[in-house]
Amino acid sequence: MHRQTSRRQFLTGGLASLAPGLVIAKGALTLGLTPVFLTSDRELLNLIKHYLEGALGSPVRLVMRRTYQEITTLLLAGQLDAAWICGYPYVRHKADLSLVAVPVWRGRQLYQAYQIVQAERPADDLRDLKGDIHAFSDPDSNSGFLVTRSQLAAVGATPDSFFSRHFFTYGHRNVVRAVASGLARSGSVDGYVWEALAVAEPGLAAQTRVIWKSEWLGFPPIACGRDSVGTYRVDALKVALTAMNETDVGRRALELLQLDAFATAQPGLFAGIEARLKSVQRGR
């Protein structure tokens, strides 16, 4: 405990001095990012990189891939120090992964999964979506796939049997676009992303309508490999993330992300997702 405190004090000092290479000796810190948030906005990425490099006093490399699976695989293979992944892969690989930090959104580390349709379409719940062309976000996404899949499993259906056709857009914003354009009749989307879009791109979000919201589930976490737990790099990252709202750059990044802060969390936060996964596995 004492050690952690002194580390934080040290980091705060590091932030002030902005002296690179003092904290992390060997190479850049690699942080994987999935398309969990809005877009690969250059400004946002630069802010995160700038903040972390300042906070850690070392170079940071942000690694982006098209799918959750690619990032998860890199993380499990030890190619990344940490990655912002979804709760679903975290739960699946819980044995090999450890939580670094979880975002705080609207005061809680929780979010919901939404099912959306075109704004003017008269549909009330999942039953009305039968036979649709349905847009999922990612096969490794909780809100963008697992939740709807478990909903269907509960009635003995699968996406293939329930929808006439379904496809993955590999991005929650793309799900909203697919539904808004009419490419898909309905979609499964991250509630946090939809709400954030409603603020950032109200025109796009307004073309869709939320017909169902899931229970509150654990917010997509930043995780590291089990082997990295307790390493100086990961601990420094954890401190930097949880202190993000303490600097201007960090606050600006959080503002763009529409998040309150990052905070530490316990694995129990993802019990809901685990339950969903189990219900799907039972349904097989």
């Binding site: 062309i133 496809f167 993955f168 697919a178 490419l183």
Partner: protein
């Protein structure tokens, strides 16, 4: 107003202007059709490039049947703000099913492509008709030589059409303006060039119908075609005046010659009774006291004097100045016979006298000119027929005309004499004498003169004289 009725100075400039307009129209048409061809080629190239790019972009997604990535590629391509952009792009799989479209509402994923994608040309067959602001085009998406799908685009060609419209507008305006300017300039230039022509025309028509000389001050300076033309014209006018004067003098001379011959003939006619009368007087002087001599001598003298009086009266009638009375009768022709008979006898000729006025006694014609025409024709025929010749004199009435025909068995009318019947030319001595008088008198009476041949190869001159107006009823 017919174009032919316009003066040359207006007609030629108008024709020049018209030609300018025709040339301008043809040039515009050529440019426009070339523009249309160029635009079409341009469109084909652009469409080909566009579809090639799109095919490359969607190939990986189409190959995997990935709806979202195909849509993203199509959507991006459709949103690009290029000169040529697509309104809708769609990828149709080999089985005819829509994989994705940038307009999913119109062409939903999984739906059969249907008629919308049939008979759509490739870029090479694209036609820019102008009937619609968009054209449909498609291209195959190939992978390792096989075609796995086709990309279909509805291209917005409104920019191209607007460009064409603008070009047409500018071209028409520009050409119309240029043509108008050229036409107006052409009109005035040609009009100016033709101005000397109108000057000549004005002088040709003159004040009283006779050609007038162009004053030296109005002739363009320098030696060019126009000044030489005007000078030649002036020379012609002078020559014409001289010729007219000569002709007038000749006609006068001819009349006198004709009159002289007639006088000789008449003198001969008077001479015969005169000789008889002198003999009678001599007889009276010598044998006056013998009974019965005086009365018979007086009778002889009286006959002789009456004969002279008839001849003189006939002569007077023919040449009297009072020609206005419209009272031609058979007696006029009898007088003519009397006047010609001395000449006929002298030349031992035979004359066939056929005067047939039907039941008409008085004709509505001035007898003076008619008698002069007939007498001159008879004298001319008699002269042409020669010694022991034959002359035919025919007078008939044809509804509203009097027809006088004189034929003879002479050698025919020489070309020069013939032309004198129709033209105002001076006569040479002895040839066609009196024909000029015939022409003049005939012209006064609006009569028509014809030369031909009667049966027996006689030369025949026929004069057809219309009755005077207002006198037709009397006929």
């Amino acid at each position: 107003m017919r174009i032919g009725a316009l003066p040359l100075t207006v007609r030629v400039p108008l024709m020049v202007a018209g030609l300018m307009i025709i040339v301008g129209t043809i040039a515009s048409e050529r440019v426009l059709s070339r523009l249309a061809e160029t635009q079409q080629l341009h469109l084909r190239d652009l469409a080909s490039l566009y579809l090639d790019g799109l095919s490359v972009a969607v190939l990986p997604a189409a190959l995997r049947g990935n709806v979202w990535e195909t849509y993203e590629a199509l959507d991006r391509a459709t949103r690009q703000d290029r000169r040529l952009h697509a309104l809708v792009t769609t990828v149709v799989l080999e089985n005819g099913e829509v994989l994705a479209s940038s307009a999913p509402e119109r062409f939903p994923t999984g739906a059969p492509g249907g008629a919308a994608f049939d008979n759509v040309p490739t870029a090479d067959g694209l036609v820019l008709s102008g009937a619609s602001t968009s054209v449909n085009v498609q291209a195959p998406i190939r992978y390792q030589g096989d075609w796995i799908a086709r990309v279909h685009a509805e291209l917005d060609v409104s920019d191209l059409l607007a460009e064409r419209k603008t070009a047409i507008l500018y071209l028409i305006l520009g050409n119309a303006l240029a043509t108008l300017v050229l036409a107006i300039a052409g009109y005035f230039v040609v009009r100016r060039m033709l101005r000397p022509m109108s000057l000549i025309t004005e002088h040709m028509q003159g004040g009283d119908g006779a050609p007038q000389l162009i004053p030296e001050s109005e002739i363009p300076r320098g030696e060019n075609e126009l000044s030489s033309l005007m000078r030649t014209y002036n020379t012609l006018v002078l020559a014409e005046r001289e010729r007219s004067e000569n002709a007038r003098r000749a006609a006068e001379h001819e009349r006198l010659v004709s009159l002289g011959r007639l006088a000789a003939s008449v003198a001969h006619e008077i001479n015969n009774p005169l000789g008889g009368m002198l003999n009678t007087l001599d007889t009276m002087k010598r044998y006056g006291e013998r009974p019965g001599v005086v009365p018979s001598s007086i009778a002889l003298l009286e006959r002789g004097l009456l004969g002279i009086r008839t001849v003189v009266r006939a002569l007077l009638q023919t040449h009297r100045s009072d020609e206005a009375t419209l009272t031609l009768t058979t007696a006029d022709f009898d007088d003519l016979r009397l006047l010609i008979s001395p000449e006929v006898r002298r030349l031992e000729q035979t004359i066939d006298w056929q005067v047939d006025l039907g039941r008409t006694t008085v004709l509505p014609l001035a007898n003076g000119p008619v008698r002069q025409i007939a007498l001159n024709l008879l004298l001319n025929a008699s002269a042409a027929a020669g010694q022991q010749g034959h002359v035919v004199f025919e007078v008939t009435i044809e509804s509203a005309w009097l027809q006088i025909a004189v034929s003879d068995n002479g050698p025919g009318v020489p070309a020069e004499a013939r032309s004198r019947l129709f033209e105002d030319l001076p006569a040479r001595d002895g040839e066609g004498l009196g024909l000029g008088v015939v022409r003049q008198r005939a012209a006064e009476l609006s009569a028509k003169i014809e030369i031909g041949h009667s049966s027996g190869s006689h030369t025949k001159i026929r004069v057809t004289i219309p009755f005077e107006r207002g006198g037709e009823e009397a006929a």
